[in-house]
């Protein structure tokens, strides 16, 4: 009853070693089952047929390899791909890819299936038995131990601790230069993480056209992907992408009635036009999705959701921090410009962030 040997979960105890002697008996190994001949073993016609099938498969492989060269030399891809006016080259490229790949596929499959079919039907299928041996025997171990003892003894490393200890010291230090060399993989100055190209008076321009934005262009519900104007002069070699990766901004006009603005940020928006960093505070993806009716911003990478009505507070997802807001104002010509740089580092968190935030606050206070 308490024994679970029948597998019924009857209780929580008592399934231990209390089996009577005759139950200890187990079935004896009957040995390898007798070999059952295949049709190809007993019927020479079947064997002949299998031989022909294998040869046919090898022939298919030959045809496949030829097909590759038919595709390689026979199909001409002349002209532009994905051209609006002429779709022939694109179709030719597709056909060529199919023929090249299909030819190689047939060439390989013909050999593979043929050889396996050969092995299964015509090569002997008698199972053989091989004995295993211990990975290591006691004799070997003792012998090895003795050899190691001799080696240690002859080297004298145990008897001469001065040599041993200096060697350990040398061996520990010797690789360190190569670790040290890795330091120059990159600069170790973290201050660039605090700053972007935004600064007082830098115009907000459209990405990618680079045209400046008038406050009146920003209608309720519209959204702009924005760059700092001074980025447009930057070449790729001068760190265009590095700067762009930090400076990208989303701009939209919100209904002033639904927006809450914390004290100190009242003049960061222009009549309900708000600018926020587009770099997610989670791991840095660009926040590209704007849901107008819920006034939420959604990161397409990990679905962090930010509420524009509450200064981009996180309402869902893995981000922990609101998106930094870019303070903006209008210049003499009516264009939107930055009031200053971001007041905190943009993008994903790093350990020194809290120090950076505190120091940046002090700087701004002064």
């Amino acid at each position: 009853m308490a024994d679970h040997r029948d597998g019924l979960p009857q209780g929580k105890k008592g399934n231990l070693l209390d089996r009577s002697a005759d139950e200890q008996a187990v079935f004896q190994d009957p040995g390898l089952p007798p070999h059952r001949p295949r049709t190809t073993d007993v019927d020479s016609g079947a064997a002949k047929r299998a031989e022909r099938q294998v040869a046919l498969l090898f022939a298919i492989s030959i045809i496949g390899s030829i097909l590759f060269f038919v595709g390689y030399f026979g199909v001409r891809v002349d002209g532009d791909i994905y051209s609006v006016t002429d779709s022939a080259p694109t179709a030719a490229l597709r056909l060529q890819n199919l023929l090249l790949g299909g030819g190689i596929a047939l060439g390989m499959l013909g050999i593979g299936v043929g050889v396996v079919h050969w092995a299964r039907t015509l090569m002997p299928d008698h199972e053989l038995v091989e004995e295993r041996h211990d990975v290591v025997t006691e004799d070997q171990r003792a012998e090895a131990e003795q050899i190691v003892g001799t080696i240690l003894d002859e080297s004298g490393i145990k008897r001469r601790p001065l040599i041993r200890n200096t060697l350990i010291g040398a061996a520990v230090l010797a690789p360190l230069p190569f670790v040290g060399l890795l330091k120059d993989l990159g600069p170790l100055n973290l201050t660039p993480l605090r700053h972007t190209l935004w600064d007082q008076g830098v115009r907000l321009v459209r990405d990618p056209s680079g045209t400046p934005i008038k406050a009146s262009d920003v209608t309720l519900g519209s959204t702009f992907h924005v760059l700092p104007e001074n980025l447009m002069d930057l070449g790729h070699e001068e760190g265009y992408l590095d700067q762009k990766a930090k400076a990208v901004v989303l701009l939209m006009r919100l209904d002033p009635d639904i927006v809450t603005v914390t004290p100190g940020r009242e003049d960061w928006n222009v009549d309900g036009i708000f600018a926020y960093s587009k770099v997610c505070t989670h791991v840095g993806c660009p926040i590209a999705l704007y849901e107008q009716h819920t006034h939420h911003l959604l990161c397409p990478c990990h679905q962090s959701t930010f509420d524009l009505a509450n200064e981009c507070e996180v309402v869902f997802g893995p981000a922990s921090r609101p998106l930094p807001q870019l303070p903006i104002q209008v210049d003499d010509e009516g264009y939107l410009v930055a009031r200053s740089d971001f007041t905190e580092p943009v993008g994903p968190t790093y350990s020194q962030r809290v120090i950076a935030v505190n120091e940046m606050e002090e700087e701004n206070g002064n």
């Binding site: 597998g7 187990v26 390989m108 499959l109 299936v113 053989l128 590209a288 999705l289 893995p318 790093y350």
Partner: protein, 560 residues
């Protein structure tokens, strides 16, 4: 001056007759070919369909090396800006990195380049599939037990290296999608306490994205990681030779032998042929199914990103771990410690979740050995049903992994099934914690049920589907007893039992020993023992009555 080149005093040296024989003999006498052929020529390998997954992984790796070498001839791993002048119209005149431009050239202007790219990518995907299925096979059959624990560790390292290889390769074309992957790497690197921002600076050679990352990933992808994988594969296979392959229980198979086919010719033909089959299947996929259409995404730009951007499948679980972590619930998961250090726990905890999985994987052979106190050599595999707790745990781990993997597609699930993405994530958060537990319980019960089914079959025979009527009107289904070979397969397994906490030398039961005892109870409390000959006899007596009745009924009916 020696008179003769033959060794003095010996019988004349062997002289080959044929040309092939002469070449073989030359090599043999210089490097010793004969011992190698003697060792491997007729070495026995057991045959089972589940043993081929490791082969698939190996063959994928070879195909990756081949196709990757071809790609490297044309790929330009630099971030120098150039203007695209190739034949793909939508990108003509666009400024882009040389890496992306050369990726486009491989796709459109090198004949067969698109095929090679697609072959390489598909092979990488199948490589990681094969590794994981192979690992599952090893786990569920207990093949990692002594003496193969270290080979399990090598396998786990190969799994990790496959992820590194895949990710580093995925990032090379420098398109928008792969650049966003690197952006996430930057975010992850920055999250490391104290040194994170510096690590990011060192990886990217300054601020993200910098100008160096593609070249650095290139050397990782084409040199460092393949070399490590190659070395590990050599060690892996060397250990397979040392240990000889495991085999499933069955008649004639013992802990001390290997039953199967010899390398030459059968196994070599099957395994060799299988390489060509894997190659052929991958080539067929690469010829017909498009993958990673980098030309649609455009060169890397930090500003745009598409909705529904997912990494390659083997990285999904890492992305999913990031997605299901709440950033602000029930409180904020970004901690400022003493105004000195910021800890982004919403990134660190998912990394912990991934690390736990990896560490559990590496250490499982030792954990199981500790719980079962079983330090014996195991060359006979467990059928998964005969190790219900291990199988349950394996499925639990798969559910854990699977939940993280599915979480990375939460946005796609939401859009395809018209659900709120929030609800999908809430459900997955629940499943992350409770899914593995539910999976463990269900799987263990299914295993026990399957074991009971085996008992039924052994005791009462196979159901034949023939229904007959007894003289007194009862219908019975005729069961056919198993032959001894099939029966042995069903009864030859180890009857593991609970090993309660033991006293140590000082007569104390330590806390860890109590824990071990409890785990042992969890493992083996509910179990199904193999049928014994005595039980079978008893069952036969029971049947004899029915059979007798049936036979007499048969003879009387024939008299009508």
């Amino acid at each position: 001056m020696s008179a003769s080149t033959t060794t003095q005093g010996n019988t004349a040296e062997y002289q080959a007759d044929t040309n092939v024989g002469k070449i073989a003999n030359f090599v043999d006498t210089r490097v010793g070919l004969s011992p190698i052929i003697k060792e491997f020529g007729r070495k026995i390998f057991p045959d089972h369909w589940s043993f081929m997954f490791g082969e698939v992984a190996l063959y994928c790796f070879i195909i990756l090396l081949l196709s990757g070498t071809f790609l490297a001839f044309w790929f330009d791993p630099t971030m120098v800006t150039t203007e695209y002048t190739g034949s793909y119209v939508p990108m003509q005149g666009v400024e882009m990195s040389a890496a992306y431009a050369s990726s486009l050239n491989i796709s459109f202007d090198i004949r067969g380049g698109l095929f090679l790219r697609q072959l390489h990518h598909w092979a990488a995907l199948l490589f990681s599939v094969a590794i994981m299925v192979h690992m599952a096979r090893i786990f569920f059959t207990g093949a990692f037990r002594r003496p193969r624990e270290l080979n399990w560790v090598v396998g786990c390292l190969l799994f990790v290296m496959a992820l590194v290889a895949g990710f580093s390769g995925y990032s090379l074309p420098d398109d928008v999608l792969s650049g966003n992957g690197l952006r996430i790497v930057d975010g992850l690197a920055r999250s490391v306490p104290l040194v994170g921002a510096y690590i990011s600076m060192l990886i990217f050679g300054g601020e993200f994205p910098g100008h160096g990352i593609i070249g650095r990933l290139y050397i990782v992808h084409v040199f460092i990681v393949p070399m490590i994988i190659l070395a590990l594969v050599v060690v892996h296979l060397f250990m397979v030779v040392v240990h000889k392959h495991t085999q499933f229980p069955g008649p004639g198979r013992t802990e001390n032998n290997v039953v199967g086919f010899p390398v030459g010719p059968v196994y070599a033909a099957k395994a060799g042929g299988f390489f060509f089959i894997v190659f052929g299947v991958l080539a067929a996929i690469a010829a017909t199914v498009q993958i990673n259409a980098i030309w649609n995404y455009g060169p890397y730009d930090p500003s745009p990103v598409q909705a529904g951007s997912q990494p390659d499948w083997y990285m999904l679980w890492t992305d999913g771990a990031l997605r299901i972590m709440p950033g602000n619930w029930p409180f904020t998961w970004e901690w400022d410690l003493f105004g000195l250090v910021t800890l982004p726990m919403a990134i660190l905890l998912p990394i912990v979740a991934l690390t736990v999985f990896i560490i559990g994987m590496f250490t499982w052979p030792w954990i199981e050995r500790w719980v079962t106190k079983d330090n014996r050599v195991h060359n006979i595999l467990d059928r998964p049903r005969n190790a219900p707790a291990r199988t349950g745990l394996g499925v639990a781990a798969m559910v854990y992994y699977g939940v993280l993997m599915i979480a990375a597609t939460g946005d796609l699930i939401a859009t395809h099934f018209h659900l709120a993405v929030n609800d999908v994530i809430y459900l997955l958060r629940f499943l992350f914690f409770f899914g593995p537990i539910i999976a463990f319980i269900i799987t263990r019960r299914v295993c026990l049920a399957l074991q009971r089914k085996d008992r039924e079959i052994v005791l009462h025979g196979r159901e034949t589907g023939r229904v007959q009527q007894l003289p007194h009107g009862e219908f019975i289904e005729v069961h056919e007893p198993l032959d001894e070979y099939r029966r042995y397969k069903l009864v030859a397994f180890e009857d593991n039992q609970v090993l309660p906490a033991q006293q140590d030398a000082k007569g104390k039961v330590t806390g860890s020993e109590k824990l071990r005892g409890r785990l042992s109870r969890l493992f083996f409390e509910d179990r199904v023992a193999p049928v014994t000959p005595a039980e079978l006899d008893a069952a036969h007596h029971e049947h004899a009555h029915d059979v007798h009745e049936l036979e007499s009924a048969g003879s009387s009916s024939s008299g009508h």
